[in-house]
Symmetry: C2
Subunit: 210 residues, 2 copies
């Protein structure tokens, strides 16, 4: 009788355990499915400009991930006029941080990626300035990719400010046809960063402006 | 002796089962972590221009998701100069498709979102043209969000082509300060669409152009 009780207790405990594991396992897999489509959206909604970084460097594998993501953006007529300069030289980054007030965080960043457009590689005539849109879409992909792998980044504007365009062109020996659009400062985020809520229903019109 | 054996067998089976469930549960959660960061990246890498759509309409909930994602993009000085016109009117979409060769797919699309910039809402002087970069980043977010919820979209360029800027400004009664940057045609993809591999290591320089 004692041993039978023990068996029943053991069986009951086993059943409880099995039910619990099964229940939590299927809850997890449901969550997985729902989140799968939302993870990409959530990554877009939670990305924010990160301006302080830890001292950790960034792997060449992560750098390639960022560049591949940038190049996955669409370009007008599939001209792919974007060009990139990867910057990890401490003296260069410090000099950028020292010379541009809005780029102070460069002194903390282990990495910057300068996103440029080759104006000879896009449409001639009126369509030439599509390079600005193409490089901006690439920059946004790069920022989203950084966030998705746990890095923090901020887009610092260069073009169309003439002084910045001149300074970056000289600093990186850019040929005449290569225009610096913007530079992303990138690092491992130092602390947590809360995204802004920028939803403005008033900025949406339907069918016509008026 | 028989009952003791039974208990031992039961205990052993229990242990095997528990170990198995634990092993698979932790394998799943490892995979979850890896995939979690990759789903967002994969969404970036698999997005491609989709130009043919089924007849299905798009819910207002999905439209709001696209607009929220667009507005989550960064803007220079956080000026948020983007403005949007949501277009579902069949006659308007058909007229766009009929009038612009590169926008033929508008006749199939149940939805288009015109992304504009308010040039009075950004920096004055040289910084005015940051609106082009800001609206382009927003457009890229919108395209990525569409892909993440199973929609297909294509970015059709308007600015800086003077004829297109004039035509869209008139069609949507845009005030002088509202510039149409581009329009996304959006629908449920008709068939599958393979993303292009645009990875070009030659377009990357290190530390300096030369």
């Amino acid at each position: 009788m004692k041993i039978q009780t023990l068996i029943i207790v053991l069986l009951a405990l086993g059943l409880v355990f099995v039910s619990y594991k099964w229940a939590t396992a299927s809850a997890t897999s449901d969550k997985e499915e729902n989140t799968e489509s939302n993870v990409a959206l959530e990554n877009i909604m939670t990305r924010t400009s990160v301006r302080s970084y830890t001292a950790d460097t960034i792997s060449s594998n992560d750098i390639e991930t960022l560049l591949k993501a940038a190049m996955a953006a669409p370009t007008a007529g599939n001209k792919q006029p974007w060009r990139y300069v990867v910057v990890q030289n401490r003296a260069t980054l410090d000099s950028i941080g020292a010379n541009f007030g809005s780029m102070k965080m460069a002194t903390l960043a282990p990495l910057a990626i300068l996103v440029c457009g080759d104006v000879d590689a896009t449409f001639p005539g009126d369509g030439r300035d599509y390079w600005i849109e193409d490089t901006s879409a690439a920059m946004e992909n790069l920022l989203l990719a950084a966030h998705s792998i746990g890095l923090g980044a901020v887009w610092c504007g260069i073009y169309p400010m003439p002084d910045r365009v001149a300074a970056f062109s000289e600093m990186f020996s850019l040929p005449e046809n290569i225009k610096p659009m913007g530079i992303a400062m990138i690092g491992h985020p130092d602390g947590s960063h809360t995204p802004k809520d920028k939803w403005k229903p008033d900025y949406v019109k339907y069918e016509s402006w008026k």
